[in-house]
């Protein structure tokens, strides 16, 4: 093994990987009762990897290692540069939070089907980021897919998990095959599979477009870009909640890393029309994901659909960065790239938070259907508070972190008219409109989710008997809430910190430190163009809220009485009369889903005197599922049935078939040469 540079950062990460690997191996061997060591070990490893990644990121070292394993003459190449270090931080912070949450799992929650695969999954995600040749990249990418698949099917007796696992496996296979083609195309006929050789290999525009298309399919299927998203809302919620947090918050970012690595590093200088699929699919995914999310009745599936939306935003931002970079507008490319990178970071925090919170709720009540929860703010006060921060962050509301990346993205859209190509000039306001719509819908979606789960009165006995999550779990959720808040307040600092990364990817940096009125101002283009200063706004809001409250309490009344809710003079005894999640989304369904999903409401009202209950049902048509998944699957099925005949031929016919094939191949070879 040879480490170029031999710095401690790589050793720290290698040690972390060794801990993950050992934890996986030991967990596979020990009995179920003694599995609880997995989470402390993973938390320590994640902290170690974070320290190494953080140091490597800020010192901007590039470290390389070469292991004589794997394919002969290729070996395994590893490289740690700022891009890997940045995404390594995202991954390991997520793993740390999920592992701390795991500390709170009781002994009865541990299972031989989860704990051995959890460290393997963590290790695989880390190594994908470090891989410096196509072989190791694909190998560990596949390991990541398979280990997460094993976690998805951990409750294998459940029919829903089975379906989720099946669809996930198919989509993961399609994605890996696409990536195989992408790397094959990049390596070319000479077959240099190390990334250094790929970088040196200049491709024709046609080949590079095909490579990018394949890479987009490969990474987009992992990131849930529509129409390759169908597995995600099935698989992410099916896993245990802390694994869902990792899959949604972190694994999707590995896909973002892969597409950035391919499009900005390996393929060389981008062409402007590469950006079109990113922008169009990204913007469509952002709105589409939310249209599903806002109608969803299951808390974890709602979060999964929202992941699809956020990945759409990230891909649209990457598309804008490609477009700006290829048009030579580097300062705008830096803004769009900063939006993509910061949104990856921010999304990993609030989505992990929301999923871990959903896990705490699931554990406390045994339910994840929105219409069966309610009033948890009284029984799970800490979880409720942290979840509120996550919900407001993901709705892109200031001064929290989701707004920082949203703001940057709108600033990038505003530079759009500078594009030389008319299509991009047309697309940039379209993207702006779609993202604005997505922001509005996200707020509606998360007001609905928080409102039905935590506010109001409990809608089921389970929700009424809920209890607060164990300390470790609330601590993990709280840690992420702190990150969301600090990331929002000091977004200007984060944008400054990723400057070297922006310079290497986009060719320009966003700004210099403390260029604005305060050290924490976030600036786009220049100081006269746009400034957003979260600490100042937060300070003003906090001061005016506190001052008003104190003034009102001191100068006027501070007495409070409790009484039954007024409710227009009709206080209802039953919590069933509250607005539910489905009633909340009814106006949105009337406005949006009539067109998009052809939603049909059916009311079955019995005549007066009849004893049967009235029924209300809503029917959706998921066009993407029907035409993009079911139709090809059916076509394939009928085709394979037709070819089934070939399985039952006599030996003579088989010999004839083989002979014919041989002749055909010979003819082809002869004419080719």
């Amino acid at each position: 093994m040879s480490i170029v540079g031999g710095e401690w950062q790589l050793s720290a990460i290698a040690a972390a990987l060794a801990i993950y690997a050992c934890a996986a191996l030991i967990a596979a061997m020990v009995p179920r009762r003694s599995l609880s060591f997995v989470y402390p070990a993973c938390a320590v490893a994640a902290a170690l990897a974070c320290a190494g990644g953080l140091s490597a990121f800020f010192t901007q070292v590039t470290l390389q290692a070469h292991l004589p394993l794997g394919l002969p003459s290729v070996g395994l190449h590893f490289r740690l540069d700022t891009l890997s270090a940045f995404f390594g931080l995202i991954v390991n912070i997520g793993i740390f939070a999920a592992s701390v949450y795991g500390l709170g799992l009781g002994r009865e929650d541990l299972s031989k089907r989860v704990e051995p695969f959890y460290p393997a999954f963590c290790a695989a995600m880390n190594i994908v980021l470090l891989a410096d040749d196509a072989y190791s990249f694909l190998f560990f990418w596949e390991l990541m897919s398979l280990s997460s698949w094993l976690l998805v099917v951990s409750r294998h007796a459940d029919a829903e998990s089975q379906k989720a696992g099946y669809v996930y496996l198919v989509m993961a296979a399609i994605g890996t095959v696409a990536l195989l083609f992408a790397f094959g195309g990049m390596a070319g006929a000479s077959g240099g599979y190390a990334f250094d050789a790929i970088r040196a290999n200049h491709l024709t525009p046609l080949v590079s477009a095909l490579v990018l298309a394949a890479a987009l399919v490969g990474t987009g299927s992992k990131a849930g870009i529509m129409p390759l998203h169908a597995w995600l809302p099935l698989a992410h919620p099916a896993a245990p909640s802390h694994v869902s947090a990792l899959m949604s918050g972190v694994m999707t970012k590995v896909a973002v890393y892969a597409i950035i690595r391919v499009a900005f590093d390996l393929l060389g200088d981008p062409l402007w029309w590469w950006s079109l699929p990113f922008i169009i699919l990204g913007a469509a995914t952002a709105v589409g994901g939310l249209l599903y999310a806002v109608q969803e009745q299951d808390l974890k599936r709602l979060l999964a659909y929202s992941t699809i939306e956020n990945l759409g935003i990230i891909f649209a931002a990457i598309g804008l960065a490609i477009a700006f970079k290829s048009s030579g507008i580097k300062y705008a490319a830096a803004i769009a790239m900063a939006a993509a990178l910061l949104h990856s970071l921010n999304h990993s925090w609030f989505k992990s938070l929301l999923f871990l919170g959903a896990g705490a709720i699931l554990h406390a009540t045994g339910r994840k259907d929105l219409d069966g929860l309610g009033g948890l703010i009284h029984r799970m006060p800490k979880t409720a508070f942290y979840w509120l921060i996550g919900a407001l962050s993901i709705s892109a509301l200031p001064p929290l972190n989701g707004f920082v990346s949203e703001w940057l993205l709108f600033q990038a859209v505003l530079v759009g008219p500078v594009f030389p190509e008319p299509i991009l000039r047309f697309l940039s306001p379209v993207v702006g409109a779609m993202l604005a719509l997505a922001a509005g819908l996200a707020a509606a979606c998360f007001v609905r989710a928080f409102g039905t789960v935590f506010l109001g009165r409990p809608r089921s006995p389970e929700a009424e008997a809920a209890h607060e999550a164990p300390f470790a779990q609330t601590a993990a959720i709280g840690l992420l809430a702190v990150f969301c808040t600090l990331g929002g307040l000091f977004g200007g600092f984060t944008a400054y910190a990723i400057e070297p990364l922006l310079t290497s990817l986009a060719g320009a940096s966003l700004m210099t430190f403390a260029a604005g009125p305060t050290p924490f101002s976030l600036i786009a283009v220049n100081e006269a163009h746009a400034i957003y200063d979260a600490p100042t706004i937060a300070f003003f809001v906090a001061v005016s809220a506190l001052a008003t409250m104190i003034a009102v309490h001191l100068l006027a009344s501070k007495r409070t009485r409790r009484s039954p809710a007024w409710d227009c003079g009709f206080p209802d005894a039953s919590p069933a009369t509250q607005y539910t999640a489905s009633s909340f989304s009814q106006p949105l369904r009337r406005v949006y889903s009539g067109i998009v999903f052809r939603a049909q409401e059916r009311v079955d009202m019995p005549p007066p005197g009849a004893l049967r209950p009235a029924k209300f049902s809503v029917q959706f048509s998921d066009y993407l599922w029907r035409y993009f998944y079911l139709a090809p699957a059916e076509r394939l099925w009928s085709l394979s049935k037709r070819f089934n005949v070939v399985h039952f031929l006599t030996i003579r016919r088989y010999l004839v078939l083989m002979f014919c094939t041989l002749i055909t191949l010979l003819i082809i070879t002869a004419t080719w040469m």
Binding site: P398, W407, A439, A545, T560, P571, P587, R590
Partner: protein, 321 residues
């Protein structure tokens, strides 16, 4: 540039100016409506009296209300107040104007709205749920429209900072631009919807099935209700100021203006706000309220107008500096 102390004073003055005039603006609108329907109507200053009365009263909390229900009114008020204070009114050179640009301003309003919609669901009653669900449906169309209008104007001015936008518009010769006209219509529609005005919502109704905003605040009383009412008054002033700042900023004191320019700016601003309040009253008596599900078409029109505005602006680059 004016001296920092002057600029600071201007910012402070602005912050308390919007707060001071807010109840009166709503008062003017109510008065105009009353007179036009041949009623005498309440005095213009009734809003202040209402607030004073409410603040002095006890709070009656619903049994199920949590800490969120109690703290939300102050936060809603603060978010709205800060947003209103950030829009240049009489002068464009304000001390803390740099802290938030127009994108952040829209998001601040969004934060206040999300908190109110959440607070409404806390008591666990049916009517409040109706209110917040409809509010979020309206907002899901109104917020993107606002953002697109803001981006259109910001693009024309080459900056998203409101003082610079106003400054740019003051210095421009007056001309009709198609994109601005579309954006103006869109923003007026949004302003009507966001302030729970006819034809989207009726601020005077207490008929349960037609309420949006009023349904959300049904469970509030005493000082909490006062905060929410004050935030409502402020929001109206905020939207009127935003329309003035983005479309009719003439008379506004420039960044380097002195006290004389400020007094001219103040007079112009108060005149424009009063005209807008009167116009709103006239508008409200001359049109009927829409059914809730017609609202989406009304607001959809705003969204489409704002989208066309930004598309025109981007494609023609008519205003690119």
């Amino acid at each position: 540039m004016p001296a920092p102390i002057q600029s600071f004073l201007a910012q402070g003055a602005q912050m308390f100016l919007v707060l001071a005039i807010a109840p009166a603006v709503t008062g003017i609108t109510r008065r105009v409506k009353a007179r036009l329907t041949r009623r005498r109507g309440a005095p213009i200053l009734q809003g202040y009296r209402d607030l004073l009365k409410l603040v002095r009263k006890d709070v009656v909390l619903a049994e199920n209300a949590s800490w969120f229900f109690r703290s939300a009114p102050y936060l809603i008020f603060a978010f709205t107040w800060v947003a209103a204070a950030l829009v240049p009114t009489l002068a464009s050179g304000l001390m803390f104007n740099w802290a938030a640009d127009v994108v952040a301003l829209v998001a601040l309003i969004g934060a206040a709205r999300a908190l109110l919609a959440l607070a409404a669901m806390d008591a666990g009653t049916a009517f409040a749920g109706i209110g917040s669900s409809r509010e979020m449906m309206i907002a899901s169309l109104a917020e993107p429209a606002t953002l697109l209008v803001a981006l259109t104007i910001a693009f024309a001015a080459g900056t998203t900072r409101l003082p610079e936008v106003a400054q740019y518009l003051i210095n421009q010769p007056i001309e009709l631009r198609v994109s601005f006209a579309l954006a103006f219509v869109a923003l007026v529609i949004v302003a009507l919807a966001e302030n729970a005005r006819i034809p989207v919502d009726n601020p005077a109704t207490h008929l349960e099935l037609t309420m949006v905003h009023e349904a959300m605040v049904l469970e509030y009383s005493g000082r909490h209700l006062a905060m929410i009412e004050a935030a409502g008054y402020l929001k109206l002033v905020l939207y009127i100021s935003l329309i003035i700042c983005l479309f009719l900023p003439f008379g506004m004191a420039p960044i380097d203006g002195g006290p004389e320019a400020w007094s001219v700016g103040l007079a112009a601003y108060l005149a424009k706000v009063s005209i807008a309040a009167v116009a709103l009253g006239v508008w409200e008596v001359s049109i009927a309220k829409m059914r809730v599900f017609r609202v989406s078409e009304f607001l959809g029109a705003a969204f489409v107008f704002s989208f066309l505005a930004i598309l025109l602006a981007f494609l023609s680059r008519e205003v690119l500096r």
